[in-house]
């Protein structure tokens, strides 16, 4: 057997649990799971059928891990999958969002997504997944920089700092003994930091005691769900815990990301082999509590909005009721899409659906189901408590021209909460509450500079590579998007550049 195949089999053997043995042995190949899978339904491509993926893993399991398979294989009675089969079929394990919808249609409730995860892990352990440039970059970036998109802490903080500056806001960094550690998943701080500012405003306005870490800038979502690299995933979780230890926080704040939700709800236990050490609080549960306690004033919005249940947060972590309770508190025009909750169709973006560019054409094609669902509601907006879902939904809305003007139609759920909060604060004349976080209020200048994003920016300005950071920001697509509502952001960049140049001249 080739070394890679051996490593693949060893990985399967190592990760297989008793439940997985059942998932592999109990399938009767009836193919009914195909009725639930958007990838198969819309394309009709047998290779995208759930059983095409599980079939290959079953063949490997049978041939190399069972007695009758080894005997049958030696006699030529049982097929012997080869390394070439593994390579040829690798793409199909990522033309799947591991959304678990297929389980709903399986007469025995077999979890196909568990087999997909086993396969992805085996592709990582055997080194075969490195052949895919995106997966390779996720693994290498996570290993080297602890950020799956390869951003540095300076880039993440620099960009957020720029946006906060433009809006005259502050956020806490490196504060000891805050209640919550706030770590934004890489997809969030890479793709939507401009929308994410609203979450900071909510936390500030409600007086939540939280802190951002200057070191931990990714949660490990992509390494856990796209690459399924258990070793790095474990390290990311341990980094998170160690940073929480260092900062002396009480809890971890789970930001709106479906994959993070699933990781912290269930997957972390398996990855760590023990429970995650810190209490985990979903930001949706937190916002709900804050509203109920009266700490977050709201005035129901009239936005005609429908909810997309993220597979990983609703089907795989059961939070569907929570999202509805929150949404019903902040809107008076919420419309359910059909099917919904655990039966909802996947956005087709998660766990690699959108991250791998080779999926783009198929993903857009199969998203016709999502577009049909949204269109049927007649809603003006679709919201989701997941960053990746929202990005994928926005792409779907644009592709299928669901918003006539081409305006943004997909909102992260906290943006809907924000839409209810801002007018309420305005009415109270308390818009200023959004500006400064609780842990920085009434602090002396020294503390403020040491623990504010502004202070971080000043530190960055003293770094020799700050002009390069400014160049990067000037070219950045997210900054361009932010500039539509905040055209002064480029003036801010210019001002920063001048300040640095003046300082250099001072020297």
């Amino acid at each position: 057997m080739e070394a890679e195949m051996q490593a693949f089999v060893d990985s399967l053997r190592h990760n297989l649990t008793a439940e997985d043995v059942v998932n592999l042995e109990a399938c009767m190949n009836c193919k009914m799971c195909g009725e639930a899978c958007a990838w198969y339904l819309v394309t009709g491509d047998e290779k995208l059928h759930p059983t095409h993926k599980t079939g290959l893993i079953r063949q490997i399991y049978r041939r190399y891990m069972t007695l009758e398979g080894q005997i049958g294989g030696a006699l030529g009675l049982v097929p012997t999958p080869t390394l070439a089969d593994l390579k040829e079929n690798m793409q199909y394990f990522w033309a799947c969002t591991a959304c678990g919808r297929c389980t709903l249609a399986c007469p025995s409730g077999i979890s196909i997504r568990r087999i997909v995860r086993l396969a992805r892990a085996a592709y990582a352990d055997s080194g075969l997944s490195y052949a895919n440039p995106t997966i390779r970059s996720i693994i290498e970036n996570t290993d080297r920089r602890r950020h799956s998109f390869g951003l540095t802490a300076a880039q993440v903080l620099g960009r957020v700092g720029l946006f906060l500056r433009s809006e005259g806001l502050e956020a806490p960094v490196n504060v000891q003994n805050a209640e919550f550690l706030f770590v934004c998943p890489a997809a969030g701080n890479t793709k939507i930091p401009d929308y994410g500012i609203k979450l900071i405003k909510i936390l500030n306005a409600a007086g939540v005691s939280y802190t951002i870490s200057p070191y931990v800038i990714d949660t490990g979502t992509e390494i856990d769900h796209i690459a399924v690299h258990h070793k790095l995933s474990k390290q990311m979780l341990e980094d998170w815990e160690q940073e929480a230890d260092r900062l002396g926080v009480q809890k971890i704040l789970l930001v709106e990301c479906g994959c993070d939700t699933r990781t912290l709800y269930a997957e972390a236990s398996e990855t760590l082999g023990r429970p995650f050490r810190y209490p985990i609080v979903s930001v949706d549960a937190l916002m709900l509590d804050l509203i109920k306690q009266g700490r977050l004033p709201i005035e129901k919005t009239h936005l005609k909005v429908t909810l997309h249940d993220p597979c990983y947060a609703t089907r795989l972590s059961g939070l569907g009721d929570l999202f509805r309770e929150l949404l019903n508190l902040v809107t008076d025009n919420f419309i359910e899409m059909t099917p919904n909750r655990e039966y909802n169709y996947c956005c087709n973006g998660g766990a690699g659906g959108m991250r791998l560019p080779e999926n783009t054409a198929t993903r857009r094609k199969i998203s016709v189901l999502k577009a049909n669902q949204i269109r049927a509601t007649g809603a003006d907006f679709v919201t989701s408590p997941c960053v990746v879902c929202t990005l994928s939904l926005e792409d779907t809305c644009q592709t299928y021209q669901l918003s006539p003007s081409g305006d943004r139609m997909a909102l992260v759920l906290f943006e809907v909460v924000y839409a209810a909060m801002e007018p309420a604060l305005a009415k109270l004349g308390e818009l200023d509450r959004m500006r400064v976080p609780a842990v920085l209020r009434n602090r002396d200048h020294e503390f403020f500079i040491a623990h504010s994003v502004e202070g971080q920016m000043m530190r960055l300005m003293q770094q020799p590579d700050f002009p390069e950071l400014l160049d990067w920001l000037e070219q950045d697509d997210i900054v361009k998007r932010f500039s539509k509502d905040h055209p002064q952001v480029y003036d801010d960049i210019r001002a920063l550049r001048e300040m640095v140049m003046n300082c250099e001249n001072c020297d």
């Binding site: 339904l41 709903l104 409730g109 269930a266 236990s269 049927a376």
Partner: protein, 272 residues
Amino acid sequence: MIELLNIVAPVAMAIFIVGVGLRLGRFTWALVTKRRFRGVSPTFESPPPRMGVIPALYAVLFGPFNHFYKRANPVWGRGYLFYHVAIITEVIGYTISALIVFAHIIVGRPVPDVSLHLAESFNYSPANLLAIIFGNGEHLQANFLFGEFGSLFIGVTWIAVGFAVVGNLHLMVALVRKWSGAVVGDIDRAAQGIRTPGRYAWDRIVVRTIIFCIIWTELFARLHLVPGIVYLHALLGLTLFVLLPFTYLFHMVYNFLAVFYAVRRRMARTIA
């Protein structure tokens, strides 16, 4: 036929036991060797309420029919429901019958002789024992097995046979029309108009035809239309025993475990 059964039965049972042992052995081994903490994180604050075992079982068993097959593949869906009501009832009946027969043998009590229509005999031959177990819906055997409840048992099995005939006919139609695994109707509004082809699966056709014959031999035996057909019924049943560890039929064993895990996940709100 009786001689054939006497020779074939021990071999078939040996193949069955070794096959089942091998397959279940892998699960047992994994259960023993792969013990580490997993499952819902105990530190997750405000977790969703756990689902009760009955709603979870209902969701796992009937959810697929209610949300998918009922609309997308109604013939297969109805067949699947009807047939499983029948087969589960029948298998429970055969298992209870087998246990009663073996209890009698262990304490040395007489059993009926099916070929001679004798209520009491010491004919412990495999063919006779199989005829008692697989022919448990006939009066002689039912009265021996269940005493005064024999008629009630026969009544229940008649209902099961009815379900088996209807269910199997549906499944046969789905198979022959190549509707196995196909989408032939609208799943929901979002997937309106989507159709996918099914398969013409030979293993299914072979197995289903055997099952179809089993059902008819049972019917003929009960109606006393063909004397001695209970032995053919038993032989066909044995064939399934031999095939069971090596074909999709093994789901009859493993799917109880699969459903157990699916219910457990459902209760914890982690569906897959």
